[in-house]
Amino acid sequence: MQGPVIEMRGIEKSYLAGDVVFRALKGVSLTIAQGEFVAIGGPSGSGKSTLMNVIGCLDRPQSGTYLLAGHDVSNLDADARAFVRNRLLGFVFQGFNLLARTSALENVELPLAYRGVASKERRARAARALQLVGLGTKLENTPNQLSGGQQQRVAIARALVTEPRVLLADEPTGNLDTATTEEILALMQGLHREHGLTIVMVTHEPDVAACAGRQITVRDGLIAADVAIAQPRRANVDPPGGH
């Protein structure tokens, strides 16, 4: 294991619902090292997504410090956070969040476009990322011409095309059936094992969480448990996706 890529100390985040202040994160401290595969679990409403949004620099904590790859990102303005998301992080969502009526290739190119990468290089890198997730033959398909699992692969390719330090995934298999879930898990395990990718994944399902190397449980805005898994489950890729 190498040095920490994520270091959080006393992260707090509260929401104002009506005139009641709701404390979604009540001082979370968390360190994740380079090359870890972490699963975050916990009951619904416990603050998992809130935590992921803070880690992903989509949201800003009210207090606490957050060092991402050594940089303090706890107090950045919106544009600086956009920069960090673009350079250091890749995000995968439960609902895929691809641009409709836009080809897989262009979807994957998107983060590079906002980085100002020239279109030729962009296409080449996007094509490579899609090959990496096993969609080398579906470059021109639009989301509605792809299965759910394939759409999530496109989303993973989009997250990886910028060569991020951390891949963040909030319930990436939440919308998928069991077989497809296993495919996506196998892909993530492969990326983790072969490319040393750091992955933080929120999931409800114990089966999914078991594939990670470390399991964190969030309860009531605090980390309730944090255990290493000696023997992660190998995702079952028995019926290969047919690509």
Binding site: N53, L58, D59, A78, D79, A82, F83, R85, N86, R87, F91, F93, N97, L98, L99, A100, R101, L110, P111, A113, Y114, R115, R158, T162
Partner: protein
């Protein structure tokens, strides 16, 4: 950033062609109105100026009857005749006058051999050609003697000459005007077309005495009109004032009475025309302004709808690293592109409509490149102004809220 924004704008507009076209409509109409109006306005102005120099800027006309522009028209019994004696008095008493030509007209058929031409016969005096700055290109003009004796002589305009004589020499030939045999003594130099389509050369001139006695068969002194030419344009106003008071005196009008005759000069007529034109222009401009305003609001409205519809897309873009400036640019450029397309279409429509109208009205239509530039600038400006608010709303979205939208 702007290049990408333009690509996205074109993509987005091409996905909603019908909506985009409908939104453009207001701006299209506004710009078309501006372009057509300026073109026609300029054309009309040029026409008038040409007219003015063709007819002569030093002219004053006097004719019987109160003028319509002084309000209600005078009663019939207050319409006194304007006579040849009035004309003579004007020439005698007003020093700045160069020429005074009373005229008396009839419309008649002019026949030569098997050919004939329907034209206007103007009976007048020797001064007429001076007043109108006209000359005889072949033969001679009529003389004092012709006038005195109501001679059966005439001068023919170029158009009449061409249709009656073709290549033959008309001078010395005898034509029939109505039932009156009349000798052609000269041909008028071509004067060309008036800018409202009238043909100055489609005319026959005769001594006023001949027209009165032989064509009208009357014996009075009254005339249709007196044409007065003044030495310089600067003297027109003063001469007109003097002429008016002279006429009032001759017609024995009390101070309380209105004129029983009308006096006009070309400058005045031009001014009247110009006033009408500028009123029309103002009206059209207001219509254009309203259309543009409505068009702008339409753009704003559709952009707000678009931002709402595409909130999730905005969230995705923000999540992968778009900055608020990128989003602002995307929507602002879309709004500007939309209205600039409207501007271009409006320009095309305006040019087409202007040309068609100009042709129908026989006006010169002058398109000004500046008007086109202004039209495009205005439409793009509208895009910026009305697109800014929706674009800023899009740019200020929070990524998480935007991603959760729907």
């Amino acid at each position: 950033m702007w290049w990408m924004a333009l690509r996205l704008a074109l993509l987005s507009l091409s996905r909603n062609k019908l909506r985009a076209s409908l939104t453009m409509l207001g701006i299209l109409i506004g710009v078309a109105a501006v372009v057509a109006m300026t073109a026609i306005g300029e054309g009309a102005k040029e026409s008038i100026e040409k007219q003015m120099t063709a007819v002569g800027v030093n002219l004053i006309w006097v004719w019987p009857g109160a003028s319509a522009s002084s309000g209600v028209r005078g009663d019939a019994n207050r319409t006194a005749a304007v006579t040849e004696d009035d004309a003579r008095a004007i020439g005698r008493e007003i020093t700045s006058v160069l020429a005074v030509a009373p005229t008396l007209g009839v419309s008649a058929q002019v026949v030569y051999g098997a050919r004939n031409a329907a034209t206007r016969i103007t009976g007048t005096t020797l001064d007429y050609l001076t007043a109108r700055d006209w000359s005889v290109s072949r033969g001679r003009s009529f003389t004092e003697a012709d006038l005195r004796m109501a001679a059966k002589v005439c001068l023919i305009g170029e158009t009449v000459r061409a249709s009656l004589f073709g290549r033959a020499d008309p001078v010395g030939e005898t034509v029939r005007i109505g039932k009156l045999p009349c000798q052609v003594v000269g041909v008028l130099a071509p004067k060309g077309q008036g800018s409202f389509g009238q043909d100055y050369d489609d005319t026959v001139l005769m001594p006023i005495t001949s027209v009165r006695a032989r064509l009208r068969g009357s014996s009075g002194r009254e005339v249709d009109q007196i044409m007065v030419s003044v030495r310089t344009p600067a003297q027109v106003r003063r001469a007109q004032a003097q002429l008016t008071s002279l006429m009032r005196q001759r017609h024995r009008l009390q101070d309380s009475e209105e004129n029983d005759f009308s006096v006009r000069n070309l400058q005045e007529m031009m001014e009247t025309f110009e006033r009408t034109r500028s009123t029309l222009s103002t009206l059209l401009l207001s219509i254009a302004a309203i259309a543009l305003l409505v068009g702008g609001i339409g753009v704003m409205n559709i952009m707000l709808v678009s931002v709402t519809e595409r909130t999730r897309e905005i969230g995705i873009r923000l999540a992968v690293g778009a900055r608020s400036g990128d989003i602002l640019a995307q929507f602002l450029v879309e709004a500007v592109t939309l209205s600039a397309f409207g501007g271009v279409a409006g320009l095309a429509l305006g040019v087409g409509a202007g040309a068609a109208l100009g042709k129908a009205m026989d006006w010169n239509v002058t398109f000004q490149p500046l008007a086109a530039l202004v039209a495009l600038g205005t439409s793009s400006g509208i895009g910026v102004v009305f697109g800014f608010f929706p674009a800023r709303r899009a740019a200020s979205l929070d990524p998480i809220t935007a991603l959760r939208h729907e």
